[in-house]
Structure formats: structure tokens, C-alpha cells
Symmetry: D2
Subunit: 472 residues, 4 copies
Amino acid sequence: MHAEDKGINEECGVFGIWGHEKAAELTYYGLHSMQHRGQEGAGIVVSDGSQLKAHKGLGLVNDVFKHANFSTLQGDVAIGHVRYSTQGAKTLENVQPLLFHSQKGSMALAHNGNLVNAYALRSDLEEEGSILQTSSDTEVLAHLIKRNGNEVSEETITEALNQVTGAYAYLILTENQMFVALDPHGIRPLSIGRLGDAYVVASETCAFGQIGAVFEREVLPGELIMIDHGGLISTRFAMREQRKMCAMEYVYLSRPDSDVNHVNVHASRKNMGKELAKEAPSNADIVVGVPDSSTSAAIGYAEESGLPYEMGIIKNRYVGRTFIQPSQELREQGVKMKLSPVRSIIEGKRIVMIDDSIVRGTTSKRIVQMLKKAGAKEVHVRIASPAIQHPCYYGIDMSTREELIAANYELEEISNLIGADSLAYLSEAGMEKAILIDKTIHQGICTACMTGKYPLPVDGPKKPFYPACEVL
Amino acid sequence: MHAEDKGINEECGVFGIWGHEKAAELTYYGLHSMQHRGQEGAGIVVSDGSQLKAHKGLGLVNDVFKHANFSTLQGDVAIGHVRYSTQGAKTLENVQPLLFHSQKGSMALAHNGNLVNAYALRSDLEEEGSILQTSSDTEVLAHLIKRNGNEVSEETITEALNQVTGAYAYLILTENQMFVALDPHGIRPLSIGRLGDAYVVASETCAFGQIGAVFEREVLPGELIMIDHGGLISTRFAMREQRKMCAMEYVYLSRPDSDVNHVNVHASRKNMGKELAKEAPSNADIVVGVPDSSTSAAIGYAEESGLPYEMGIIKNRYVGRTFIQPSQELREQGVKMKLSPVRSIIEGKRIVMIDDSIVRGTTSKRIVQMLKKAGAKEVHVRIASPAIQHPCYYGIDMSTREELIAANYELEEISNLIGADSLAYLSEAGMEKAILIDKTIHQGICTACMTGKYPLPVDGPKKPFYPACEVL
Amino acid sequence: MHAEDKGINEECGVFGIWGHEKAAELTYYGLHSMQHRGQEGAGIVVSDGSQLKAHKGLGLVNDVFKHANFSTLQGDVAIGHVRYSTQGAKTLENVQPLLFHSQKGSMALAHNGNLVNAYALRSDLEEEGSILQTSSDTEVLAHLIKRNGNEVSEETITEALNQVTGAYAYLILTENQMFVALDPHGIRPLSIGRLGDAYVVASETCAFGQIGAVFEREVLPGELIMIDHGGLISTRFAMREQRKMCAMEYVYLSRPDSDVNHVNVHASRKNMGKELAKEAPSNADIVVGVPDSSTSAAIGYAEESGLPYEMGIIKNRYVGRTFIQPSQELREQGVKMKLSPVRSIIEGKRIVMIDDSIVRGTTSKRIVQMLKKAGAKEVHVRIASPAIQHPCYYGIDMSTREELIAANYELEEISNLIGADSLAYLSEAGMEKAILIDKTIHQGICTACMTGKYPLPVDGPKKPFYPACEVL
Amino acid sequence: MHAEDKGINEECGVFGIWGHEKAAELTYYGLHSMQHRGQEGAGIVVSDGSQLKAHKGLGLVNDVFKHANFSTLQGDVAIGHVRYSTQGAKTLENVQPLLFHSQKGSMALAHNGNLVNAYALRSDLEEEGSILQTSSDTEVLAHLIKRNGNEVSEETITEALNQVTGAYAYLILTENQMFVALDPHGIRPLSIGRLGDAYVVASETCAFGQIGAVFEREVLPGELIMIDHGGLISTRFAMREQRKMCAMEYVYLSRPDSDVNHVNVHASRKNMGKELAKEAPSNADIVVGVPDSSTSAAIGYAEESGLPYEMGIIKNRYVGRTFIQPSQELREQGVKMKLSPVRSIIEGKRIVMIDDSIVRGTTSKRIVQMLKKAGAKEVHVRIASPAIQHPCYYGIDMSTREELIAANYELEEISNLIGADSLAYLSEAGMEKAILIDKTIHQGICTACMTGKYPLPVDGPKKPFYPACEVL
């Protein structure tokens, strides 16, 4: 399923490259491979050693860069960002990397994550006379670094990072240095690769595959890396905590070909499907996955259960931003949008329908109805992750608690609400078993949205609302 | 694989609806579901009983209609078309439905197929003083109908159809009648459905599913159907020949959820995969399909062979028309475009790579290389259809004979050329067995591009070249 | 005043060039200089001796060609057209030059004027089986030429021209010949110039100035000129009638720097202003012209009367197609659009307001009101041409007789209706004296819209209405 | 002449309105009437009493607002800006009004002018930790106001204004107050009008005419005005100096229908033409002005000298931003751009050519050549202002001293360089006499660019260069 339908909004993706003459173009391809992480805006900032240049825009990576003139984006260092706004304002000024100029030099920032103390930090900064241009928490870090007229350095960045709390992966670029930082729990993914002599940094390893780079290592929790012409220097800006990689990266967010903290996402999903088949078998004729994110789990369930895997639901590849939404009337008459059932496969069958997760339940209900209308005799819903019962404060824009169906109803009730003949979720233990293949390497995962076990204290992020500046 | 990469170009898709107050909008959704049949242009002509109005444009259905004002496309009858130009000229004037006005009334035409005697017919018409506006063979039929100042009627259409030779599915619309015609061999698909009281006609049945309509029957070879306020009248304009449905519709062209001449496309592909596993097993660890068109066959192969089906190749969903193609240099350095290998799945494995067909062989070579570079120990290529050795004259824009790798090389040579450890094609018999499940219903298929057995005489279509009128 | 406000719609402009390697670009500049003759669409067809290529579009010349690739419009012969549609349909297919292809060769047509027997000719052609694509009368001529499979030649064009009646200036282009034709009364302007060795043809001589070409001669009434590599050959396709150049070309339509049939337009307007001052003097303080078209006449009136000429009305240069029209409410509160009064010039003054013509009277009323509101003590309206009382059938889209204020009211009544303190028109004799400086050269002018003396019989043009094909 | 050709670049224009429910729309029309003051970008910020909303963009006012949704720009207070960038960077972030948000409230700024100590002020601010987002000096004022966490008030603005030096007209908007400020010499124009109960502020009074508002008074040098629901309060933030209104506003920049500091611009130009005729008569046949800015002066010269005023040069109205510039080759062959000569008026005549000013001399040379080529017997150039010999530091982007022809050559030399038969400038005294009709009211004018008498010390503005952020 597509994120917007479910109520899970993608977060963001960052990409950086140091030491390749086609830095901006490679960043374009890298961002392109992480398009699923943010479809609202994209940008690249490139440095040629003496100045930073940016190209940014609202929309998909392709749309933003189709008229870009890469010949003016010269330089062998670049960082880039794809963005999903976690607040209402879809405005150009919020598109990252943010770029700041001063008479002493420039600085660009790209950020994936969410700070839980951003509101309080803004108040302090404004009290001191600072003017913030955007409504994003990314800008706060820039002001913390530049406080008192500081220059951008390992020291000033370390000092600034020690003032922020939350989940974050940062890339910071000056004319001649690139900084890479990951929060002390390593909640968001961030890896380092090599492309020849060049260093590459990306939220997902699929970006390495896209450009022919090779994975080198994970950025470590609490690590601050500085890259310049002398090479790469690693320091630690905070005590290392146990890694708590976001479980939703495996369940839903990341691309199946990415390895997140050493675990291949497709493989983990297939494992989750297998565990699910063990925990919650069902008397059925065929296994059908909800495309695209549940395909891997469905194949795993089929393999484990011995039931045939069939393409009972088709996703319309061409439904994009310009698709004209059918009126309520036409929708009720049966006009489909993204998903269509395949009647000749479904008709008369008992179906195990595999989905990766349920958020509000409205989408699940629609798909179950669709399958029944297309002739399914029974629909047994199996969810390849534990029920989502708590909001995320670390960078994923899920629905509020009031909207989370599993926070408000019992299993049986949910099954009835979505019209399923039976319903089961994967257990927390099953999920951990599927993902944490080797605990010594993979350490822990953050399951806060399922279990309420938040690795970091949260006092409810009060986010200041700023009216948007509409731009053409 | 995407068609353009392979050297097979999609043909076209037609859609018609009679008797629904939202005729134009439903046509939009119908065309949208057949977007894969033609991505170069789209159009809709609607009748409100007294006049025909059109909206047409170059580009994807979404692009063409994103600014359309459906409130001006009132009327309860409409026909539509998605187009892949089989000639160079990507011009607005060639976008269908073609619309012709005269003082006595108007006529719109939408056409899927190709006439083999179009050139000769144009010569005759021009000798008589006719001026043709487009370079498409569709316009020829319009002039044949209107010859001598005729009005559009069952008689004049029958007379015109008897002058043309080829493969075709036609929709013709006047202010108050819709005509539907299929060539005497039924080479191109065309089905009739019902949506409440409304009649629906479409190249593929997936369009029925899209709008909630129900399949009623196939249009028969040599049948001419007239729909007006009195209902539907069927006549026969030619002696019925044995049905020769294009085999490539099953192999590659149609959507997996469509039923083509009563056979579900996904099921036929899965069958082809199973037959292929029987005919050409291989010592391997995993089965990998080339997404999207080969997924069904790969699942069939896996099921039959008992080997696990894995997502070893990922298709980048966001590569579209505005994607900036990497330079040769970056491509050589490893920048990927549509397909990426998943190293953690492929590495060290012996792979059966399933593809639906090979045309020029260049794509297959690239994919095999990609898999090997990602660590595959062996790559055994299995093609889920017979080798393509002959050009198509009936509406599919395949490469010329010179470019068809199977027309010029032996099996072993091809295997070497594409760098595979072994290569096998499905046999003609295997394909027929997979598709023609019940011969009494399904009759025959056209396998001309594989076997050279052309159901219709062809003397080589001399297509007149017309320079394009570029439009903004 | 801008045409659309007054109720006079510009007609069209044609341009052709033979024998210059930058033919398409020079045509662009030539059309640009005639932009005032048609703002709805523009096009260029170029020939490189073996094929014709077109670039056409809706909108201003700049908009149509801003993305044109002139390097694909190679060839040393070109014709072009700017268009004002005299019928509702603003569609791309009606944009000229029309381009027709056949197996024997191609033909392009550009036309300024109007045929009075087009409807009857269309009927005949359709009776014979011809299909016409556009709703313009230009296409009729193409079909008449190609009747019976004719090739394009002096003979077939002569035969076709002898079947049409009306006012027209035609440019016809084949791969290797250009034809130029003017109706037997020479109602529409058409001149020939030279640019080095190249021949240039244009509706207005300002196009010659624009590209540095030199005026050579007028095309004569009833003349058919053929230009090819052998040079220019002139023939006569009809008995020459006395020239009846459209008087409105001098009064309003042409650019002041053009010479129409040997008379400079600015000079003729200044003369009309002088004659008007003699015929209708007024007790006033200053002379104010309605910009831009009445400026010349106002200067003439001022010079003859000895009153100072002042810029009492300013035209806002930036009001274009994208200007957001003020709501009725804001308009009533005083929001101005194109014209603004200059209070410090007008206040307390008795004003002679010079305008070139009055059509419906609504604009005049608005301007008089505006001047009074800005403090004018008296406003004496003086019109530098006779009253318009009859519709034009020869290519200018004026209002219908019902809307023409002078067809329905006496002088005194009109003066009251528009709120003037006095009103006078230039007499027919005065206009003729101003324009026809040397009768032996200039012959006659068509004053049908003022006097009802139609040089050609008209039986009321029944124009077939065709619904528009909207295009992106 | 158009500014860009001459080397004078328009500055900017500001507009504000307090107390009208259509505030944003009226601001649109007001900005539209001042389009000539800045064609690079435009913006509006509106307040509904509780929040500020902006719509901004690059391009002409029409282009920026053609897709604006005014229904989301609700509020009865608005300020707007049209911009000509005085630095290279044509970027959206520099488009004004600048809008700043903080947790305590928002502030918008619009600025016409130039600060001469901006560079030093930026250094100080950055030393203290401030991050500036734009490269405009307008942002500096915002940071000065907000220093130390200040709120926006009469006191903090006064304090900030006392730190800046230069020529400026400021509009500042908060949720519930509007501030208006003019520099102590009143170098830039700024007037107050009334529209019913609403207050209107604008750089030029033509904006009042545009929306039906009535001029009330000039903003005084050194005056700070605060408007809120209680009405308008005027204070003085600096000792009032003698007014030094920019002379170029009369000579070239302002619209002829504006009154600048009580003097009508057309009238002042006509006066300059008359004075010029007295100071520098010439033996000639006709007077020709270079359109549009020299038309008034030419009429004045003609009236005073008794020579006839003729339209010997035509300006092509349709040459805009999308005009395709002719190649050097075509230009040499005679392809014209904005200005065309009218041969039938010019040929054989001795011409007095009136221009408002000469900057680099290249345009004058081109026009003289053009007139001679069109047959002028003699061309006597008369400039309706004194020679420009010094750069402007107060907001007009003229050429540097090296490029100013009058800074480097004697009168005779310039006459020869531009190919004129004679040349004369208006004297300083003549200009003052023409403009300062009543010295007690009009006080003084700034003639620094002609005389070098700078009213304010300038130490050469070192402007920091920031690379542009390209946006789609």
C-alpha cells in the first residue's frame, strides 16, 4: 500500500558524496533511489571548494531536477535530501538541504528525524534575537551551531548536538568539510559506502546500489564523522546507547533491496511472513499480498504454509500526483484507484490476505470488501507486524492515538470492523526473531509505536504553526 | 521490463461507453487502466446526442487530462484511445480518436491495429482528390466511409471494412450511434461489458474492473456491432475466420488482471512458467523474475520446480519520462536506471532468471551482467515464450528482422552473447498448452512473430513518411 | 484602444520569404511585427526543397515560438501567419498555415480575408466525399485546388481562385514553389519586398522594416504570382477591378509605420486629424488622444487647431492576457484596467478627446466618464473617421448591425449616450481626402462599413459551427 | 527606451493598504501600476489580524499572481513589492516583502532604496550569531529590529532606523500594525492616499489612480508612521534634512501620470523639453522622441520650437521576456527589435531626436544609425537632462563610472561617437527650473549622478556576493 492511504507518512532521506567530480549528478541518482522516503520536495547543495550552490524544489526528484542545469552545479562534494513534511506547510522554504550564508562562509544542512525539544530551543533562540526562516526543526541546529558568531567546526557541532534530543541523522556541508552525525540511539538509519575513492553517505543502502557504490559500514549511534581532503575522522559526541533501529524501517518504510543495520529488508519481511505463518496459520486456498510493501511477507507466508502465492491484487502503476480522483458517486459505483482485484484468481477462493501493518483500518476494510466483491469466499487477514498502538515522536508521521484502530479496539472487534473472517498480528517476539537474526550485531530495535517502550523521554512535541508562504 | 527497452512497443488501447451520464470520466478511468498499451498520447470524444466534443493531447492519460474540464465534456456516450505511435511522428494531429466534421454531421474513430493495404488505399483516395490530414492508417477508413459523400451507417461502414486488410479493432462514434468492429481473424482483443444499463467496450477487460463494469462477451471476429438508443444490434461484415488472438497479448502486452479471449493473463503466464520448468529445469538455488512482466511466469516456474522465488531484482517505480538518463560514463561506473539487483539475495547463488521474451538481446545481456556483478554464481536464463524471429505486421512495433537476435543466431550463440550459463525458450507447443486451456473456446492464437505463420498475406507495408507538425 | 474592447477584431497577417537561409527566423520576426493583426495563434511552415515542416500554436508569436527549435526548421523558403479567429473556436487545428500532405507532395496555405461563398463550396465538396478538418474557409481553397487529384500548379490554383468570392490575400507553399494571390478588388493589403536576393511578401510593410527588407511593389488586384528557383512570374487570374483597399486599415488596423497601398498610415491618420479639426473645431483647452491608435490623429488635430496636445490618458503597457480582471465591485470603486486619466493634466480643462472610431459606444462612454471624474470641465469627442453603420463581410470581425451604435441612433443621441458635451465624426469626403492623396496612384478605398457601398455582393455568410477540439 | 538597454535599472516599488476587505487584490492592482519600477519579482503579504500570509514569485506581477488564490489571501491589511534586483542573484528568496516568523509574532518588510552601510551592519550581526537568509540589505533592518529578542514596535524600529544610512522607503507589517518610514533626505518617493476609510501608501501616485484612491500627502523625510485600528500616528525618528528627491524619478523612472513630490512627471518632462528647446535650438524639419520615456519632452520641445512633432520611431509593444533575440548576423542584416524607424516620415528630413538621458551611449548610437539608414538627412540629438557622470548609491542600478560615456568623453567626442550631427544636454539650472516649479513646496532634488553632489557620505558599498539558490 501507498503510505498516504494508510496514515503512515514517509519520513525523509539524506544522501552525501565526497570526492567525485559528478557529485551533484550522483546525488540526483541517490535521491532518486530513495524517492519512497519523501515525495514532497527535494534538493541538492554542491560545493566546489569555494562556494555552495543549491537547486531545490517542491515535488518528486524528477520534477525538481528535470530542468536543472547540472553544468552549473559543479563541485566534487554534495549533499541532498528528499522530504516528507511532517507539518502542514508544503513550502519551498522548508525544502532541504537548508542553506545559510554569512560573510565568513556558508553551511548546508540535511536532516532525517525529529527533535523532541525543538520548541523550547526555538524559544531560547528567539529570546536572544535570532530570526528563524523555516518551520522545520532542522534550522534550530544551524542556529545552535552559529550561536555567538561561531564558525562551523567539530567543536561547535558537538556542542550543538548535545543540546538537542531526539532521533536524527544529519549531514552538514561547508565549503570544504562534510559532517555526518547520528543520534545516540541510532534510531534512524545511516550508512557509509565507497565509490572508488569517494565517500558516500545515505539513509538507505539501496542508494549505494543505484550508483554502483559499495557498502562500507553503518554510522554508529552518537558518532560524528568529519570528511575533508585529509580523509575521514570519526569522533563520538555522546555516550553510545544501545542501538534502537526503528522497526518500521523493516516493516514498511525501507526499500526491499536495502540492508538496514546489516539486515536485508526483503529477507526480514519474508522472515516476518514465515513467522506469521507459524504463529497464525489459516485454512485457505491461496496467499495474496497487498502490493507493493507486503509482497515479501506474502511470499514468506506462502513458502512456510505451502499455500500457493497468487497475484490477486494489482496495483495501478500509473496512479500518480496528477491522477484525477473519482467522485464519491463514481467510487461507490465501483471505480477503482490504485488497487484492483483479479476476479479470475479470487473468485470462489478462501484467501489469506497479507498486509504489513494496520494503522486506521480504513484501507484494510476497503481491500477486504474489494476481495469479497470480486468473489472471495473467505478473507483471512494476517498482519506481518505487531499492532500499532502508540504515536511516533522520532520522525514518522503516523496518525494520532485517537485514529489508531489498535489503540481503541480489541482484536475481535478490529476483525469485524474490517470485515475479515479472521485476523491475526505477528507477535513482538516473532518480529524480533525475524529481524534480529544475530543479536550481537543487530542489537535492538525501537518498537515504541507497537509496545509503547520509548527509548527517549518525550513530553509531547508542541510544534509551532507557521502559515505557509505560497510560491509559484 | 519496460517495453521500450526491449524493442517491443505497445500498440494501442480503445475504450467506449454508451449510456452513462459520466461517460467522459469513466472513459478517463478506463483509458487509465490501459495506460500500458500506449503512453504517447490519449484522447476522448464525447457525444451529447447533438454534437461531438474532443479533448486530446500528447503524453500520459494523467498529463493529458489533468487540466481537462470534464464539465464541458457532457454527454452519455464516449470513446477514447491511448496511443503508441508506430511511426516516428509524435504529433498531436495523430492522437486519436480522430474527429471529422461535416455539414451533415460528425464522426470520431478510434483504432487499435494495423492495416496492411493502407498505402495503396491512400493512393487511390488522393487520386480522387481527397486530402488526408494525418499519417495514420485510421484516417483511411474515415475517407472510405465518406467516399462519394456517404453518410455514416452500417452499410457504408461495412463497405469500407471490406476494402481494408489487416488486424484491427475499431470504435466509431457519430452524434447518436456507436459502431464496434473487429477484423475477421480477431487478432486484436476487444470485449464488451455492462455497467448497469450502460454498454462498455474495451481492448482489455482490466478496464471493466477499473470502473466496476462486468464482462459480458468477446466481440467476435468479423463482427460489426451498432449501439444506439434502441439497444445493440450485431451484424457480420465478413466471413468469420478461425480466431487468431495475438500470442504476445498473453506473453507481454496485456495486464495480468485482464482476461484475453476468456483466459486470465496472469494465469496463462504462470502456466507458461510451469511448462517452462517442465521443459527446461535447471540446477539452481533461487528463481528470479525480471519485473514486472515476468513475475507471474517466475512464480509459476518456482512453484513447479520447488525452488524458492526471490525478489532478486528491484524495479525503480519512479523512473518515468522526466528521469534524467545517466551519461555513458556514469552508466559504466555503475549508475542504475530501472532495475537494481539485491546483492544480499543474489550473492553466491545459482539463479534461474525468468524473462517473458528476448527481442534484440541487449537488455537480457545487461541484466545477466548486473546479476553476475552482484555476486550471482550462475545465471540460467529461461524465456517463457518461443523465440521471436519474425516481424509483426498487425499492430505491434517490434524491431526489424535484422535486429531480432533469434533471427540471426543459434540458441548456443545467443546464450553466449548474453553471457548466460544456460538458455532455454518455451516451445510453441508448451505456449499453446499454457494459453489454450480449452481449445473449443479459445480457438487459435497468432504466433507469426515466433513461427512465421502469418494468418493474413503481407506484402510489406510501405508506410508514407510525413514530416511532423510540432506543436507546443 | 485595444481592439477587443471596441468590438473590432483584428483580422490576420501573412508573411512569406523565398531564398534566405534563415527563412524561418526571419518569418518569426516578420510575424512579430504584425502581432497586432492577430493574437490568437501563429505558425510557420518552412520548405527545404524536399519537405515542408511546421511549427504552430495558440497564443502570441512569442509564446508559440519560445520553445521552438529553429534548427529543425531548416530551409530557405517559409510562410507564416498570425491569426484572429473570426469564429468562436480557438483551436489549434485552425491555426495557419494549414499544412496538407499527400503521396505526391505537400502544400501549405496562409490566408488573410474572408470568402463570402465558403458555406456553399463546403457543401459541394462534402457531397463529393471530401472530409474537411478545420472550420476555416482557408481549407476550402485547398480542396478546390486538389479536386480530382490535381497537383498544385498555376493552372489548378487559378481554377480554384475563380470559384471563390470575397476578400483575400493568399500565400501557398509547396516543396519548391511559392504562390501569392490577391482578390480582384485588392481589399486586403499585400506587398512585395526584397532582402538582398530574397523575395519577401507581407500583409504590412512594417514587416519589411522589421527585418531590414526594402519595399518593392504592391501585389495587384487579381494577380497570381509564382516564385521558384527561376525567379518570379506574374499572371492575372481575374479581370482587374478598381482597387478597394479597406479604409479601416488606415483608420485603425495597420501599424502607423506601415505604408498601405503607398500611403503611410501615421501620415493618413494625422491628415484625418487635420481634416477633422477643419470640419469640427471646438472651443477647448487641450487635445487628448485615446492611446495608442488615436495618437496620430490627435497630434494632427492639435497641429491644425493650434491647441496643445497633452498626454491626458495613459495606457498601462503591462495589461496582457494574464491580467486578473477586477470584479464588478472593485471596478465600481474605481479600479482601472488599461487606461488611466492623468488628473493633474485634465483637472479643470475643456478637452477635445480624439478617437479613431466608435463601434458600440461602450468604450467611448467609459472614457468620457473617466475624464469627467478626473476633473475635466468639458469633453468634446471628435472621431477621426465616418460613423460605422454596416457590418464587414471581408475579413474584419466587427459587431453585428444591432450592436453598432451609429446604425441605431442619431448623432445627438450618441453624444448624449456617451456623455459627451459635443460629438462630431469626420466626413466620408474628409477621410478620402486624407487618405487618397494622389488618386491616380491610390485608386479607391472600401468604405462599406461606413457607407454600405459593398464592392462585392454578399448574401450573408452562413458559417457552419463546429465544436472545438480542446488541446493542451 | 527600455531601462535594460540604457544601463539604468529600475529600482523597486512598494505599496500598502490598511482597512479594506479586498486588501490583497487592491495591492495586486497597485503593484501592477508600478510594474515599470521592477520586473524581476513581486510579492504580497496580507494580515487578517491574527496571521500573515504571503504570495511571492519571480517574474512580472501578472505572472506571479495569475495562479494566486486570492480567497486564501484574506485580510484587510496588506503590503506589496515589485523588485528589480540590484545584484546578480535573481532568486525567490530575495523577492519581497520578506516575511519573518517567531513564536511571539510575525513581521513583513518591503523596501525601496539602498543602504550604504549594510555590509558593516551584516558583519556585526553575524558576529553576534545571527543567520541572514537573503543577500538583500532589507533583511539587515529586520535583524536590527529583533536584536536581543525585541518585539516590533515604534521604539525598536526607531532604534533600528537610526543605525542605517542610505536612501529608503520602508513598509513594515505585523499582525496588527503597519509602519511606514522614509529616509531623512526623502530621496525615494513615498505618498499616502485614501480610499474611502482605508489608508493607502505607494511609491508612486499612479497607484492611487489605478485603484481609485485619492492622494492625501507625501510621507515626510525622517518620518515614521504607525497605522493600526486606532488610526494613523506620525513621529519623527530623525532630524529632518532638506528634501533631496531623486531627479531621475522625473527624468526617467516614474510614470508620466504620477505626481512626484507634488510635481506631475509628464509636465516636468514637457517643461524639460521646453527648456531644452530654449537652451539648444536646432535647424531641423521635425522633432522625434525616443519612445516611450522621451515622448513628453519631445512634445515640449516641439511646442516651444514650433517644429512639428512626428512619430518617426515606433516601439514594438510585443517585445517581452520571451522574445527570441536575433543573432548578431541577422541583426547586422537589419533585423530590428524594440524600435523601428518610419521611413516615409524620416526620409530626407533634418531631425531633432529627443532622448531623456544617455548612459553608456550605445543605445543612442544605434538609434542615430537607424534614423540615418532610414534616410534622415541630419540627426541633432538633444538630451532632456544633464549628462550622467557619477554612479548612484541610493537605489538605482546605473552603470559604473567606467561605463558612463559622459564621465569619460567631452561633448564633441560623444556627439561623434554616437554619430550625431550635433548634441546638447539640458543644463542643471534648466532641469531645476523645469522640475522645481515652486521651491517652497518642492525643496530640492538629488542630482548626484549628474553633478557628483551626494547628499549622504558614501564609502563605496561593498556588497557580499552569495551564490543563488535556483528554484523551479
